[in-house]
Symmetry: C2
């Protein structure tokens, strides 16, 4: 952990809250006599198992844009790693290690301590070792910025791409949707907003089941379009997802469910569920013959997995403009004005 | 390259200046049928050669702190990767790939184009593939922040640590010193300040020669102390570097050399050379029997390598407070008031 830009007392804080605990929790990434973690110009990782490939992801969170300035620092530490583990999960990768760049205005002891606890708590849960990074100061009028670069592994050839969906696949989504978006305006301390649980175990299990997967951090509607476009391009076919909008009724989180109980329009609530970002669930495509395997997986992981639609081939070769058809309860296409919003601007 | 936080036209810019060129230059990191670069939740790397270990480093540059706001964007793109390749070089690692996080106020087309050219020019030079990352917006009053996380490889057990120096080793430093520090106040466009050349080839050659190495981005005096402390701790001995301050006269860059020619005190100029940061040279410790090998290496790489001192064992076990003795021309210790400044605060 380099810290050339902070005063000596601050160097000590960083050592206490990052280097020390990271050494205590050193996991698989450093389990080798010739491996070494924080403390040199770079970390040296244990050799990978033979037959493994690396997966690498990087995500940045900016204060007041991706998180509220008063966010619980423990939750922030958790979340900046969680969003990266969610990317690894979508690839079917097993977390291995990560580096952290913390660009902050001034090191505050209690803030660093809590941030580190949230960060390293999640890291330890998934055997993902803090390998280094740096802490730098930004001017007092600047937003703080947190970047994590994460490494994971997959058996060679087993990574799940977003481009692998095929005609006839079922489309599934994990967990519950919509609550983070509502919480943004109603409750900054919402658990799902602040402490997202990356679907790492699901991603690992999907290696043998799914043709394609993507994390839906930008919202289901938007990410579904990405998955379909990538799969069409990769297969040189014109694939279209058909999703019955109101099928999402089973995916509503508690906040949207209570609005349903209060009489709000099911279609409106489903549209919110499909539009909202800051979700760290997985969307995946799996062949119909794996339906019971997916249902078994949901039970084993105690995680709801909802079949929301299917992948079809477009009969109309010229109709490539939008790769998702949102349907009403009678399987008739909805007009575009009724579709969920695709693409979510955080904040 | 995720870009969820920028408008659609900006997505296109990022694709044009990063994803497209990165695909063209895809190197060893992606040379495998089951590898995949930018475009999914994470990159999937080609399996490593058997007998290789990964090295990982991450460095962040903050506007107005690590670089001037008007810095040539091509130089900035070059430098944000160069500082990471310098870390890999200090470990003896061969560059493999990297991710980039660009936290900017607004995407400007010509700026992004030039930044990308500088970044990917250096990347291509060292077969270091851009694997992903993200582009996010910071508020208009914020400093911009650029983070790079870089991967390299070493044959297992061959990484060069800063902790390996032993009694009797010679201490060497590459290249010329001092000019970046002078340029900070005199010439923001100085080539060595803006376009540092990471000593990758030197690092690779040192695997078989050096006991220890470190990059001197914080300045020679400071990094020498780090190397000595790490080596003392690792060997449970009390090692002390003895360096004749005026031996650095051979290492002065053109700016300091011209001041020497103008009659300025050699000792003062050497002190500046040893204090200044923003240097991306390597400091290394090698056994005396490799002296001719090091000299041969200097010729082969056309890179000056200067022997500046040696590693000794302190006769006084209690004198562990400072691990470097700066000597005058007669090998007598200088008083602390005459030492170079250790620790350089960028800007």
């Amino acid at each position: 952990m380099a810290s050339e830009n902070v005063a000596p007392g601050e160097f000590e804080l960083i050592s206490r809250f990052f280097k020390g605990p990271a050494e205590q929790f050193a996991g698989t990434a450093l389990k080798h006599p010739k491996a070494m973690g924080i403390g040199d110009d770079g970390a040296v990782l244990a050799p990978l198992q033979s037959g493994e490939q690396l997966v690498m992801a990087m995500d940045t969170m900016v204060e007041s844009r991706h998180y509220f300035p008063d966010m619980d620092p423990a939750a922030l530490g958790h979340k900046c790693l969680a969003v990266n583990l969610s990317d690894l999960a979508a690839m079917g990768a097993k977390p291995l290690g990560f580096t952290l760049s913390l660009a902050i205005r001034e090191p505050r002891e209690s803030w660093l301590e809590d941030f580190s606890k949230g960060l390293l708590g999640l890291a330890q849960q998934w055997d993902c070792t803090l390998l280094g990074g740096d802490t730098v100061r930004v001017p007092l009028e600047s937003a703080e910025t947190i970047s994590v670069a994460a490494l994971g592994t997959v058996p060679t050839g087993m990574a799940i791409m977003r481009s692998g969906a095929r005609e006839g696949d079922d489309l599934w989504v994990s967990g519950e949707l919509g609550d983070p978006m509502i919480a943004l305006t109603q409750d900054h301390r919402d658990t799902k907003l602040c402490w997202p649980q990356p679907r790492v175990a699901l991603g690992l299990a999907l290696r043998d089941i799914a043709h394609a997967a993507i994390d839906i951090s930008d919202g289901l509607a938007s990410e579904l379009a990405h998955l379909m476009r990538a799969s069409s391009a990769a297969s040189s076919t014109n694939l279209v997802a058909r999703v019955r909008l109101e099928a999402l009724i089973d995916c509503l989180g508690p906040r949207l469910s209570s609005r349903l109980a209060a009489g709000e329009s099911p279609r409106d609530l489903c549209r919110i569920a499909a539009s909202g970002g800051d979700e760290y669930e997985l969307l995946f495509a799996a062949p119909a013959e794996h339906r019971s395997a997916v249902e078994g997986l949901a039970k084993r992981l105690a995680l709801p997995l909802h079949c929301i639609g299917r992948v079809t081939q477009s009969p109309d070769e010229s109709a490539f403009s939008w790769p998702v058809i949102w349907e009403d309860a009678q399987a008739c296409p909805l007009p575009a004005s009724e579709w969920p919003k695709a693409g979510f601007e955080h904040f």
